[in-house]
């Protein structure tokens, strides 16, 4: 755990792992309004979207489409990177070697996911270096679910089961996004997330059939993470300011509420199978819709945390900055190594080695 402040817990969260929600009417800082587009090119572009064609980096695209993608993809990449921190805290305390190997591999995957998406974002003409600087200096946003502490080992299981489970529901949809590099990164990520979810569910299931104390630990963890997991899908459709463009241009093909409902429907049976309860007295099957109805989400808490008032915001950024600075010697060594070998070959250093 990063430090004492993380123990100060308020247990309702956040927003969706990759798309950081901005409150209706809030204006992104230092962004000029997107220029008016040539109506003919815009019509051609929208016809391509309507035909389910994939948009590729060199294709013409409206500036607003490009900006929305840069916003969403970079926030998604940052979330993968920051997402390593709460779980990394438990690597040294994993209860068995098997669990430690699994957790190490999962955290390494999250780093990889961040890199896949940064790589996709760079195809839109931004530099990863600039994005990383924005993350480190605190101007970029990332999912606030990672600003909450992992208080017990059971939380590692619950994050895999519920947080990664919610991520899979969302990313399965994003794998059909209209922008090719994003969709392809999502296909790769979805395959790996299934391992994350299963390792998490196995941890929770093992605790749930263990001693009464272990079962209580698992139930406590589920109680704390359930509502935050539902909030990961973002505000109700009617309160989601970015959803209009994102769905019109085929970036998001299902709404926040549709995805949330799908996640609830999938998860109820999984909880029942391991004899844990979900902390919602209003949860019940609706014979008419065939969906599981659930209680009201605390949106005040949601916006408060999106606004930066989560328990671990400062620690996560401090840990990320320290990791970046501690890694400076590795980057310097790599450059020195490259320069030395280039000199041996009598070639200039750089890509043309």
């Amino acid at each position: 755990m990063g430090g004492a402040a993380c123990e100060r817990v308020r247990w309702y969260f956040t927003d969706m792992p990759y798309e950081i929600h901005e409150k209706k009417g809030s204006q992104p800082k230092d962004k000029a309004p997107a220029p008016a587009e040539d109506p003919k090119r815009l019509a051609e572009f929208e016809a391509r979207i309507a035909r389910d064609e994939t948009i590729e980096p060199k294709d013409w695209m409206p500036e607003r489409y490009r900006r929305q993608l840069v916003r969403m993809m970079s926030q998604h990449a940052h979330s993968e990177v920051v997402g390593m921190l709460p779980e990394g805290n438990w690597i040294t305390r994993a209860p068995t070697l098997r669990r430690k190997m699994g957790l190490l591999a999962k955290v390494q995957d999250e780093a990889g996911h961040g890199l896949y998406i940064y790589c996709g974002t760079e195809t839109l003409g931004v530099d990863r270096h600039d994005l990383i600087v924005q993350l480190l200096n605190g101007t970029a946003k990332y999912s606030s679910i990672f600003n909450y502490p992992t208080l017990s080992w059971a939380d590692i299981g619950t994050i895999g089961w519920l947080v990664d489970g919610a991520a899979i529901v969302n990313q399965t949809m994003l794998a059909k996004a209209s922008y090719g590099p994003y969709a392809r990164a999502m296909v790769r990520i979805c395959k790996e997330e299934n391992f994350h979810k299963r390792q998490g569910y196995e941890i929770v299931a093992t605790l749930a059939r263990g001693t009464p104390a272990q079962k209580a630990m698992a139930q406590d963890s589920v109680n704390r993470w359930w509502w935050p997991s539902l909030m990961m899908f973002g505000p109700h459709d009617k309160d989601s300011p970015n959803s209009g463009d994102l769905s019109k241009w085929g970036i998001k093909r299902k709404s926040n509420d549709e995805l949330r409902q799908r996640f609830v429907n999938l998860t109820v049976a999984q909880a029942k199978a391991i004899d844990l309860t979900l902390p919602d007295p209003e949860l019940r099957f609706n014979e008419t819709t065939k969906d599981w109805d659930f209680g009201a989400i605390d949106w005040d808490e949601f916006w408060r945390v999106v606004g930066g008032d989560g328990p671990c915001n400062r620690e996560r950024l401090a840990a990320r900055r320290k990791a970046h600075d501690d890694g400076a010697w590795v980057r310097a060594a790599a450059e020195a190594h490259a320069a030395k070998h280039a000199a041996h070959r009598g070639a200039p250093s750089g890509a043309a080695a």
Binding site: E56, K58, D59, W60, A105, Q108, D109, G112, L115, Y116, C119, G120, E122, D127, R128, H129, I132, V133, L136, N137, A185, E192, R321, H324, D325, A328, R331, A332, A334, E335, H337, A338, A339, H341, A342, S349, G350, A351, A352, A353
Partner: protein
């Protein structure tokens, strides 16, 4: 704030060949100061689960690509020759060609 190096390193495109004899396919990109480290980074990022038996890394600037504006005329020669497809040729009903 110290943000040393990083994307001052050149960009490399990564191609992976899956087991089973398929062709190399574009997987993504990595930043690295030289080819050797680009290969290592590509291995760590794109082949954590036996996805590849061979890796190529290519300096991104070395790739020459067609442009979307060219698309119509550039690919035209391949688009208007129906006689290059087997469906162009008639076969008596009931005869299996293959």
């Amino acid at each position: 704030m110290a943000t040393t190096g990083d994307t001052a390193h050149p960009l490399w495109e990564v191609f992976t060949q899956p087991p089973g004899g398929g062709p190399h396919e574009h997987a993504g990109s990595v930043h690295a100061p030289d080819a050797e480290l680009a290969l290592q980074n590509a291995r760590d990022v794109y082949t954590r689960r036996g996805e590849a038996v061979s890796l190529w890394v290519v300096p991104s600037g070395a790739i020459v690509a067609s442009t979307p504006e060219d698309m119509g005329p550039f690919f035209d020669p391949g688009n208007d020759k129906a006689y290059r497809h087997p469906q162009f040729y008639k076969v008596s009903q009931g005869v299996r060609v293959f």
